[in-house]
């Protein structure tokens, strides 16, 4: 859509303006350049350069990672509901970070993302092993819910053991918080991004082939299972470092890909990937403003706000998916068979190779009628 880019840019600009100026002390917009220039001289300069800018950068980076990872997961599993939270990936990563904190094992900061990755691999791997890769979306989802619940229980055991101060810290962390993050946290994220970004670029075209279904992908020369595993590994590498730094920020990985898809219904995975990352960044930056300012002296975690924003949006998307399957099916049709005119109705083959979810929904709607 033509107005998508201006909308995106203006939203980011507005949210960044709010994030940099509002708060205590209030720095008016015209004073921002001078505050940035002499960073160490004034209070406003220190606050802006040492607290607000890193926080903004972190929010952008984390949102972009989560959005991209969500899209990769959903495309690789061909499941519009494959969310990091639901697959046990986020809970696993959080468990990996919280365990040493409670058990009072001191570890260097560089190891923390590795622990998070270990936990994420554990959670995600358990889910996918238990559910089987090719199963129906809802089976994977329910299995993921079970694994996530088990990991949650392990986390809660840790929380029961922790003392009051640790408990506050862990609880805030578990909800996903950006408060008091500095440049150190941002620089910790860079190496992982450097690994993940080229991998993403490489895997995006494969993803749009995977979308056609395993048999067609094999026929086109893609080893489907191996490609899928690689995509999952990339998603884990994207999610785990972010989780290590700011905790599991909920529902971004669900909201961003759906926004990207809904706004460009005719594109394919290669086009959706940057949009999904951009929308993820927007969601986190926008949600961070009420998280910082809504209950002013108390900071609320950004994850609670994304959950409160994201779940109603998700429900609305799910429900409107019932009513507007035609648009999506047309999109898939043009995906699958480029040469066909896109206004042609869905042919039986394209419907057959579309999402299982959609045919499920159609069947459910038929039963209801």
């Amino acid at each position: 859509m033509p107005w998508q880019l201006p909308l995106l840019v203006s939203l980011v600009a507005l949210a960044s303006g709010c994030a940099l100026t509002l708060g205590t002390p209030y720095v008016p917009l015209y004073q921002l350049p001078s505050a940035l220039r002499d960073a160490d001289a004034t209070l406003a300069g220190i606050v802006v350069t040492e607290l607000r800018v890193p926080r903004l950068v972190l929010a952008l980076a984390a949102g972009a990672c989560l959005g991209a990872a969500g899209l990769v997961l959903q495309e690789a599993l061909r499941n519009p509901l494959a969310i990091p939270e639901m697959l046990g990936v986020s809970s696993g990563a959080a468990f990996g970070v919280a365990a040493p904190l409670v058990l009072a094992v001191s570890i260097p900061a560089a190891v923390q993302p590795l622990l998070a990755i270990g936990g994420a691999v554990l959670g995600g791997g358990l889910t996918l092993l238990a559910a089987g890769l090719g199963r129906s979306p809802s089976a994977v989802l329910l299995t993921g819910a079970a694994v996530a619940a088990a990991l949650q229980a392990a986390l809660l055991v840790l929380m029961v053991m922790a003392d009051q101060l640790d408990l506050q810290l862990i609880y805030r962390y578990l909800l996903g918080s950006l408060s008091a993050r500095t440049w150190d946290d941002v620089t910790g994220l860079w190496p992982w991004l450097l690994v993940a970004a080229p991998a993403l670029v490489l895997c995006a075209p494969v993803l749009s082939v995977l979308r056609l279904g395993d048999e067609d992908a094999e026929a086109l020369g893609v080893r489907a299972q191996r490609a899928r595993l690689a995509a999952l590994a990339i998603a884990i590498v994207l999610i785990a470092p972010v989780t290590a730094v700011c905790g599991p920020v909920a529902w971004v990985g669900f909201l961003a890909p759906h926004l990207a898809r809904r706004l460009n219904p005719t594109a394919d995975a290669v086009r959706w990937l940057p949009w999904s990352a951009a929308w993820g960044a927007v969601v986190v930056v926008v949600a961070d403003i009420p998280a910082r300012l809504a209950l002013a002296p108390v900071e609320t975690p950004v994850g609670a706000w994304t959950a409160l924003l994201g779940v109603p949006a998700g429900v609305a998307l799910l429900r409107s998916g019932h009513r507007r399957p035609a648009a999506r099916r047309r999109a898939e049709g043009s995906d699958a068979v480029r040469s066909e005119p896109s206004d042609k109705g869905p042919s039986p083959e394209t419907r057959g190779q579309g999402h299982e979810q959609e045919s499920d929904e159609a069947a459910a709607a038929g039963e209801a009628r």
Binding site: S136, L141, T143, A146, V160, Q168, W251, P312, L318
Partner: protein, 335 residues
């Protein structure tokens, strides 16, 4: 059928004995001594003021959750409808936490907690009902919406806890579900509530069995399906809220106990409803005993005195494993 009941009752008794013996502090010999009327004042206090009410609360809460789950699954004709995935348990937790944070309720006014939990549970169920469109479509869609509703309610609970951070320490045990430190007051609060609503569920057993057969059949047999379903849902919410107010959100008990009960006793609810109560009691009580034993062993092995394993963690892990088995065993999409 009768033999199965006796076997299950025996299992419950075994679990109860294990629960009485498992805790730390008193060795089995001392327990035997106290039962015979001996023991010094401290031992008698531990046994009669701590262990016995804990045992009774675990039994009562387990029975409540089992019955509530079976009633819900029958009324919605949905094998995946447990109180945890229909928004009832998270709603009840939210209600209770909100009431505690606002100062309307606390440990000194337990009745208010139960009422608040009940209101929250009703709100959660109503939210799902609104979203999923009368709750009867596709079981998986309903379960999916239930997961979403639970996420919203969990987020709200988190917000409340952050606004009132002082409560976090006392509430966290309750988010996971534990029978730690339950005393006679909790039991006195739980049993009249459980008895009243359990009796109501028992009266509804016949209509619910008809509802399991499908709406057309039930209507043909002369049942007002709408009224029966509404009262059954009310009953399930009330039972869940009572259990949540007493022990907190024990994961997966209400989802999986009914499956076990139906597998053992068949789908005639007049038989399997008491069966579900027995299974629930046995499961919660047994897991509590196992959790106590495990935390004792772990504390001894790791030399880590603070370690206590809440029973909710154990039931959640157990339930997650069982759910995996159920999902895997099922053909591709019908559960």
């Amino acid at each position: 059928m009768n033999r199965r009941f006796w076997a299950l009752a025996a299992l419950v008794v075994v679990c109860a004995c294990a629960e009485l013996l498992a805790g730390r502090g008193l060795s089995p010999a001392v327990v035997w001594d106290v039962l015979g009327g001996g023991g010094d004042a401290t031992e008698r206090h531990v046994f009669f003021q701590l262990r016995l009410p804990r045992l009774l609360v675990a039994l009562g809460a387990g029975a409540c959750l089992g019955v509530a789950g079976l009633v819900l699954q029958s009324a919605l004709r949905n094998p995946l409808a447990g109180p945890e995935v229909t928004g009832v348990t998270p709603g009840a937790v939210l209600g209770a936490v909100t009431a505690t944070a606002l100062g309307l309720a606390g440990w000194e006014s337990p009745l208010a907690v139960v009422v608040a939990a009940c209101a929250g549970g009703c709100a959660g169920a109503a939210l799902l009902w609104l979203l999923a469109g009368r709750g009867r479509g596709d079981p998986e869609q309903t379960a999916l919406h239930g997961v979403l509703v639970s996420a919203v309610l969990g987020g709200l609970t988190a917000m409340v806890l952050l606004v009132a951070p002082g409560e976090l320490g006392s509430v966290v045990q309750w988010l996971v579900g534990t029978t730690e430190g339950r005393v006679w007051q909790h039991w006195h609060l739980l049993w009249p509530w459980a008895l009243a609503w359990g009796a109501a569920a028992w009266l509804l057993a016949g209509p619910l069995t008809l509802l399991r057969c499908g709406d057309e059949l039930a209507t043909a047999a002369g049942l007002s399906t709408r009224r029966a379903r509404t009262s059954a849902l009310l009953c399930a919410v009330a039972l869940t809220a009572g259990a949540v107010a007493a022990v907190g959100a024990l994961g997966f008990v209400g989802l999986l106990v009914p499956h076990v009960a139906v597998a053992v006793f068949g789908s005639d609810l007049r038989v399997s409803l008491p069966g579900a109560a027995l299974v629930g009691a046995a499961v919660v009580c047994g897991s509590d005993a196992a959790a106590q034993l495990l935390s004792r062993l772990l504390a001894a092995a790791l030399d880590f005195g603070r370690l206590t394993l809440p029973v909710g963690a154990l039931t959640t892990c157990l339930g997650a494993a069982l759910l995996l088995v159920v999902v895997r065993r099922a053909p591709s999409r019908t559960f």
